[in-house]
Subunit: 157 residues, 2 copies
DNA sequence: GTCACTGCAAAAGGTTTGCAACGGA
DNA sequence: TCCGTTGCAAACCTTTTGCAGTGAC
């Protein structure tokens, strides 16, 4: 038996290649690769769970000669706009960022440890077709996030 | 040919019955039906699109003898916790509330006029099964929102 | 009469902005 | 050198909190 035609594809985002890709994209877009920005990237890739802007700023503030608040916020905004950071929502409604890749991705979030797995391929065609008919909407986009317990946290309980 | 086993069901939330249901539920829960709270409910059912807490407060402040800020925020919190308000996210990342019913619902949001349609039945079983296997997560819950153009706004373009 | 609820005002928390100085390319 | 970027500090916006007084039941 073959796989179903629509498949889900986990999309791993490795810290190092992410940073490299961001730098390359930045350079290509004519942006400057300044020291404060690189520090922000370095801090971001150390997270294993979603982080908030203020949290990132606070963590950077531990360093000697840290980037200013405005720089942190502006960098996040830039990364987010260009798709290198995804904004995710926890089950409790809190927002957070995770390193991502430009394009259409969804996220699977561990409600225990917070770890996030990105995946492509949401297989919603059926649902979308049915809803389009029923509601007369022209559906263009969607937000899908899944919550559960990752392999590790599953064992603990 | 019969309908597919999994169907989507738009869930209409009518202003009047919503207010009645909320009042009944409040009463049943032993909460007091005070004038400020009723005013908040009345303001909520006048919205046709998602609203923010501050917006609700500002609109109420137009009235003579309006509820205080704390009351507005506390009432929203209560409604939200008990499922009578759903928190939705616009495509731009802004949050807003819409009248809802307790239970598992999703929302279809018009990106032009902001109108929201709730629906039950998300037909994600296939996707969830596949992802569970691939990622070894125990998936427990999900957030799904669809964006598009409603029947009216479709015509305009 | 009781106690949940209200309003006020202040604090807290997070984010944005203006502007002069700085420093990559 | 040029102009994008930075840091500071203040402003801004939203939400939360403490507490004394009020009013629904």
């Amino acid at each position: 038996m073959v796989n179903p035609p629509l498949s889900t594809n986990p999309v791993p985002v490795s810290p190092d290649s992410w940073k490299q890709a961001v730098c390359a994209a930045w350079h290509a877009a004519g942006n400057r690769l300044t020291e404060p920005r690189v520090r922000v990237l370095d801090a971001i890739i150390r997270y294993t769970t979603p982080f908030s802007a203020e949290q990132l700023y606070a963590d950077l503030a531990q360093l000697a000669d840290p980037p200013g608040r405005a720089t942190v916020y502006r960098t996040i905004e830039q990364l987010s706009t260009s798709g290198w950071l995804a904004r995710i929502h926890t089950q409790l409604g809190e927002a957070g960022y995770v390193p991502s890749l430009p394009g259409h991705l969804h996220h699977l979030i561990c409600t225990n440890c917070g770890v996030v797995i990105a995946f492509a391929g949401c297989a919603l065609d059926d649902l979308l077709a049915r809803l389009s008919t029923q509601t007369d909407f022209a559906i263009e986009d969607h937000l899908l996030q899944l919550y559960g317990r990752c392999a590790n946290c599953k064992k603990q309980c």
